[in-house]
Symmetry: C2
Subunit: 352 residues, 2 copies
Amino acid sequence: MHTIDSIFKETELIKSFAQNFRRHPGQVNGLLEADAEILKLNDTNDEYLVLKTDGIYEEIKEGLYQDPYMIGSTGVTAPLSDLAAVGAEPTVILLSVVLKKNEDEVWLKEFRQGINDACSAYNIYVAGGDTNYDDFCSISTTAVGFIKNRKPMLRKGMKPGDFLYSTSFLGLGNAFAYSRFFDSSFQINYLPQARLKESLFISQFVSACIDTSDGLFPALAFLSDLNQIGFDLDVPLNSLLHDDAKSTHQKAGLPSWLFMAGPHGEYELLFSVPAEANEGFLNHATIENFQPVYIGKVTSGIQLNFVSEDLKISCHPAEVPNLFYKANGNIQTYFKLLMEQHKNWSSVKSEV
Amino acid sequence: MHTIDSIFKETELIKSFAQNFRRHPGQVNGLLEADAEILKLNDTNDEYLVLKTDGIYEEIKEGLYQDPYMIGSTGVTAPLSDLAAVGAEPTVILLSVVLKKNEDEVWLKEFRQGINDACSAYNIYVAGGDTNYDDFCSISTTAVGFIKNRKPMLRKGMKPGDFLYSTSFLGLGNAFAYSRFFDSSFQINYLPQARLKESLFISQFVSACIDTSDGLFPALAFLSDLNQIGFDLDVPLNSLLHDDAKSTHQKAGLPSWLFMAGPHGEYELLFSVPAEANEGFLNHATIENFQPVYIGKVTSGIQLNFVSEDLKISCHPAEVPNLFYKANGNIQTYFKLLMEQHKNWSSVKSEV
């Protein structure tokens, strides 16, 4: 029916590089167990220092990101979304920037404006940074924040029976990538925002949280690998699509699941609420005027069940995300593999 | 006699990119006023959060650094040296690494070993990081630490009459660069260490501090620009040279001052002690078995006086460091400009 890939290639890659480094005895999260690094430096109170380095690199190199304002803004948003995913409040960022030699002054101005506007929106500050010069631009940002008088959210902690939600509709990241790489007639506005406010609210209820910066399916693959659980997405994927993704899905005739495949996501928070906390969560959400998007349930079986139009699929959670690594990161090859996957799934269905 | 460059190009470049970013109200240092970023987050005690992002980028790109162990180790040392220069004690680092696609496993192992050994030596931990893949390697490290119950050291605060010291002999960074770019028959061991222990001791006495990661003259140019002071290096530069720099100076027949020109330095701390604190400083240094290297005195006139062999030079502190920018960062051109500068100075002398 379909090949089972029981190891998520992304975690394998990260572990092969980082798993033997010295870890701080006060670090709450093990490797890959949270979106950001959480350190308890003081025994006497419930305060955590939270750190995260994240960057915009391949996105620029591959031509996915070109607009300087968006690059600056998203360079700030990327690690802040990770702070949001653990429930931290950010304080400052440090910027490690590589600029193109003799870059156009207008370009630089818009890049700086994107950084500054994002900082204003999040009410944070640039504490410092480091600038290098090369043939193309990149930005690596370290966000620093705190969690006070609350427990941090981890990726770890999901249990079978938990309800799965996201902070908003999904698929925008992939829709944007499709418009940039395959059909420039689609105009997709992509300027993601870190869900810091929502984070503070949901942190009272969740069993685990991750952001969708890599897309829904890669996020689920991380959670599955770490918690040894699976997912039953018992609403049609189509109903989870962001408006722009839905319209791309319809006009381009692409299956809904393709917009969940990653690895380019949209920085929503994906989180689980234990069954016994679900009613309280929904009641409080209504009071707060927050509308979480219900996605499905956590299962004990390690599989991903979803419905994309007339296809009802059950696959390993890593199967789709691994295609990107099978394609060696080549976008054209990856898209081909995704379409082949769709054809395989469709042909199996027609045999039933 | 010589052209006056009253603006240090390096500070001009940094300001043009970073001077309009939002700064945290609790940040102790203004832009360029300290080697690391110092934040007072709490009014009630004398505790500072200290942050610094620094990287190894051009050094690898230009072929100056090739040994993976040294790249890993120095990638950790670079921002820790900045923490040392403000008197902070480091806690954790975050690594933002770009690896060569399909890098050799032995290379990666040595790179990781360099990182891990440096962390062990400094008793710090890797809290997390970010890995990207490209055609060549680079490493950007964010160091996080604290200053408790002490005042931070800044670059700002130097006064005419202060005594100038470094934690050890200088010129190793430039000697290493010379051996790599111009004469591979010189074998220079270069594995710099952050002066964290010395930092805690000197912080009781200093008026200002900076590290020599860019070399002595660029460090002096920063200090001059910021404090509107100059320097009278009243000992022969030759006597300040690290043994390996001295031997390169002798065998290659290069003037001593060339080894202070930067921009590749050696991560010593360069610091000033007010005249009235000098005796106490020296007495305590003797007790601690610490041997600071006396370099000269801070002057009210904005110039750099030094003696290199039979040359007695008085120039603007930014004059030599700016040659690197005049050469547009090209090493061959830069070396040519340095030698021309030496010829000019020598010819003026012979006319006297």
